[in-house]
Symmetry: C2
Subunit: 434 residues, 2 copies
């Protein structure tokens, strides 16, 4: 091979400016920075990641789920061994193979009635999100609105498509409808075409906030009137406090196909399956629904979602009568206790402390704490080094100046004892700085 | 919910023109059309899909691979149970967890020496392809070159990015270097910036053609001189005839980081794992290699590749001493026999038949047959209805007029007896038409 060294010419050195701008974007650097900090301080107590609790993970479950799904193919679908093996090993249906089980789960647990053919199974909700944005970005005039503060994954997916995102104020009710109307007007005045509003109506990431029922109805009405879609991302609604009412999702209230529902199974099954889905039942002129259009793009992006991964999710559903609510009884108890512990711990330590405030979500993984000093990436490093505690600066989720003194605490992947200890460390940091 | 019916306003009807143009593109419609024909005629003998043979699929293997990989984590990496479960269930490293095993396999089987940190594990080679194109499409002037006829997945991935693709003639040697130079000149004269050339140097899809060693060296030299990357897609090189020499991949000859290697494991492991990879060892000014840049985009597209799927691939590798060549002994024998049977069957039936010609690849899945009449989608339908045989019209892979009388035969997923019977049916079709 040394003979080719002379032939091959000067070695390549790529300039960042010659690669797509998204790769230099703060949204994509955020994710890397946060991961990198966590990796550098593995012993710090971390309120940073929105990861599921690990105490329920058990390798034996994977074997059992796989067999349960294979048995289902034989007993319910009448498949022989050759066909079972083909289903799991071979290329398969682009829209997925567990669409019927997902449609049934949505009806059982969420009261969402949907044609399984409008379900597109994806490589996590992240792929579903990207596919929807790809379809809606038809011209350079198309823009997206997003309730801010915003999930970093939405911002990042939009950057990959050069799709502008206009923030809409969250307010007390999960979306400030007056600001939404103002942003729609401003976008149109600027020659833009707003296509959709992205939001997490239940226990939002990062704010923990939820949308009251009346706001949900008014938002649907506004979307219909304004001709925009609502992209409803719902990873957390199952994890609500014991005394909190279950509110209908936007999709359950949607009688006019205004809502594309983005389903994550990372928290209700497990992240390593990398299975999520979109409900995209919007009719398309000429035939089919939006899910069919998204599946064309998916066939050129990831071809199809691993049928083995889908079988694991399917097996878990089958073991619990098709219900994720039943499958998640332990997890729901864990997250309830953790959130209760976090909120009580904050009250124990910071009630009456000047400049320290926090919201009190009745579910989900996240609480936002306001402190009397700037919360920067530098502060995060100092918190890790000097106090052994990690969190997420809210400036990663919004450009709102109010967020510069806020941090997000996630309680999903800690034990109650770790939460107590982590809050002691946070209290020491706040005492140092105040 | 009926109360919201009035509020929700008129139901949505999406116009295709309001969705991204790729969704109406012939490349994306091709894939759908071909799948749809196959589904409508499940009893036809099909030379159409490049799918792997199914006789080696066995559900028990999945259980064994998973356990082998978990054992490897315990015995070789010293993980405890908690950490093994975390590795398989939790969110994980964006660049993947089987990168070291993949790097070792490449060295063992292909003589490619690569730093595992330059390996990005992806959801099939298709995602790797899309990510590379995303990174290289930095401005509207950036274009891609592709040896034509071209794999539909390349064309489709480029369409999702509005990235123009300029065809380069394949010729006898896998790429016509004079035409490549001419296309580079023409692109630049048109104000375009050519970034890379996509090709399948070994047993190309769809043509079955391979590139001689001397052409490989000259192509690398040309790439270095012209400042373009080579995107080498290599799903088939393992499946060569017993008397064919193993040629070094472009990547094995690449001393200057001019080659991004796209690895598919769909044929050498199984498609349902949805695991592929890119080797992207190109240094980037400011630090890191191209794989690190691609991983930023991946974190916003699919987050990470399912660790369970990666464990299945890892377990298969571990069971065979890290070598895919050893893991594929049965598959190699099957494809050799199938290709031999197809080529002998073509000779038996069509030697001396006016206007009927075919190439004679010494490996891979595909043979191209030229016939004395137009091969259209309508003809494919008639072949299915009247003769019970399916193939792929070459017009789906190129706009070259010469291809309008060509069809692609794939022999990978049929038995020798089915190949014989299918060729009889093809002979009947050709007799009807000639």
């Amino acid at each position: 091979m040394s003979a080719s060294a002379g032939l091959a010419g000067p070695p390549v050195l790529l300039e960042p400016a010659d690669l797509h701008a998204s790769l230099r974007d703060p949204a994509l650097r955020s994710m890397n920075f946060l991961n990198e900090v966590a990796n550098r301080f593995p012993k710090a107590l971390s309120f940073a990641p929105g990861r599921p609790a690990e105490s329920t993970f058990d390798l034996a479950d994977l074997h059992r789920y796989l067999d349960a799904y294979a048995r289902h193919l034989v007993e319910r679908k009448g498949y022989d061994t050759v066909r079972v093996n083909r289903e799991l090993f071979q290329y398969g249906r682009t829209k997925g193979i567990v669409h019927e089980l997902i449609a049934r789960q949505l009806e059982l647990d969420e009261g969402i009635v949907v044609d399984p053919d409008a379900v597109l199974v994806t490589v996590g909700a992240q792929e579903a999100l990207w596919l929807v944005l790809r379809a809606l970005r038809a011209t350079e005039h198309d823009v997206l609105l997003a309730v801010a503060p915003t999930y970093v994954g939405l911002t990042g997916a939009a950057r990959l498509l050069d799709l502008p995102v206009r923030p809409v104020r969250e307010g007390e009710d999960g979306v400030d409808l007056a600001d939404l109307r103002a942003q729609l007007r401003a976008a149109r005045a600027a020659g833009q075409r707003p296509r959709a509003l992205y939001l997490v109506p239940d226990f939002s990431n990062p704010s923990g906030r939820s949308m009251p029922l009346e706001t949900r109805r008014r938002l649907l009405e506004l979307a219909a009137r304004e001709g925009i879609l609502l992209l409803e991302d719902n990873p957390y609604s199952m994890f609500r406090s014991a005394d909190a009412d279950q509110l209908p999702t936007l999709k359950a209230l949607d009688t006019g196909h205004h809502v594309v529902y983005l389903g994550s199974l990372a928290k209700t099954c497990f992240p390593g399956a990398r299975v999520g889905f979109a409900i995209a039942d919007q009719p398309v002129a000429g035939g089919g629904v939006l899910a069919d259009e998204l599946s064309k793009a998916k066939s050129m992006l990831t071809v199809n979602t691993s049928p083995v991964s889908q079988a694991l999710v399917g097996g878990l559903l089958l073991e619990h009568g098709g219900s994720l609510l039943r499958a998640n009884e332990r997890q729901i108890a864990i997250y309830r206790e953790n959130l209760h512990c976090l909120l009580r711990g904050l009250a124990d330590r910071f009630d009456g402390v000047p400049g320290v405030r926090w919201n009190t979500p009745d579910g989900g993984f996240f609480v936002v704490v306001t402190v009397p000093f700037a919360v920067t990436d530098e502060l995060l490093e100092q918190a890790a080094v000097q106090h052994g505690v990690l969190f997420t600066p809210m400036c990663h989720f919004t450009e709102d100046p109010a967020a510069t003194r806020q941090l997000r605490l996630s309680c999903s992947s800690l034990t109650p004892a770790e939460i107590e200890q982590g809050l002691d460390r946070l209290a020491a940091l706040i005492a140092d700085r105040s």
